[in-house]
Subunit: 141 residues, 3 copies
């Protein structure tokens, strides 16, 4: 458990397709370009979203559906390998028209418009494996 | 609509001037150094701010003025070209003394103190053009 | 007061140790690898946290303890030199099971699981010095 040094690889900016799911979109870009490890940020707006909060005792996600439009005030995420393919892990902070802010693990997000900056990281592969302590799939580093 | 591969260019850290507007300050740095495309993050504190929420149906920004001091809990932004010059697009999450959190598109932010990390991206220019579907100025990629 | 151009150095991803303090963990990684300047983002979850809000008039931090588990919806931070060693400055947005969002300067955060992407910046050293106007230790640039 600790740190892994990697080299900065390719840089990408993405304009996420209107009405697509942002997680699926980033996953498809990763598959298309052979990106196995990356870090990214995004801003924009969603038409609706599904957030997850991981219950640290029960080891399960509690889901929240947001059916109203949301600004993506922040999205920070990464890509690593899970079950042989690129897996996108992203957390977001969302804000609605009335100024209500919701935040957490982004399970689904239908895009109104979104701009992503992605930095590929190259070197030894980062693989997610089930962790007994947390119940999560964590990096094998 | 999709992705554009760019090369990582210069890296900058900025100490944003006390009492300046953070959007103006980053725009001025971009002009001074000839930065046409970039991604950045920032943390710090604002004296006051104006946030926007884009109404996805009416295609107009609803503005919220925050007159009290705010921590910049997160700021994620980018620079691309609009009308021939560098255009700063930034979203923030702000928190006040009472723990109230507001978030959205940052229209104005008077700086108490702020630290920015900016990565220039070089290659084919990224230009914002009016998008008919959303009414926003989006990247031509 | 302004900008400093630096070169992108090494890239690291960190899996922060369960039950460790995230600020201490990143500080230790910086010391171990000789990282003097860096920018980072993180996502994950905390068991508990202590946030600070800097009172811009009184020039002192007001602290808030969050004793319940929290998603790290966003963490943006940097490393620079203070009193001769690497100093970690991080802001977070946290969300609890009930959807309550808190945000601010991260003073302490006990990790459930956390993933960090860190970019070293190399060149002229960035040193924090007391700033008379804000009462904060700010970059000498």
């Amino acid at each position: 458990m600790g740190s892994r040094e990697l080299d900065a690889g390719r840089s990408f900016v993405l304009r996420v397709k209107h009405d697509s799911d942002i997680i699926n979109f980033v996953t498809c870009v990763a598959k298309k370009h052979g990106i196995m490890t990356a870090s990214f940020t995004a801003i924009g707006a969603l038409k609706c979203a599904k957030l997850g909060f991981y219950d640290q005792e029960k080891h399960e996600y509690v889901e929240t559906l947001l059916s109203a439009p949301q600004e993506i005030a922040s999205c920070v995420g990464n890509i690593s390998l899970k079950k042989g393919g690129p897996f996108v892990h992203a957390h977001v902070v969302l804000a609605d028209l009335n100024g209500n802010v919701k935040a957490g693990h982004l399970l689904e997000g239908k895009v109104f418009a979104a701009e992503v900056h992605l930095i590929e990281l190259v070197g030894e592969k980062i693989v997610r494996r089930k962790d007994g302590v947390t119940g999560l799939s964590l990096w094998d580093i």
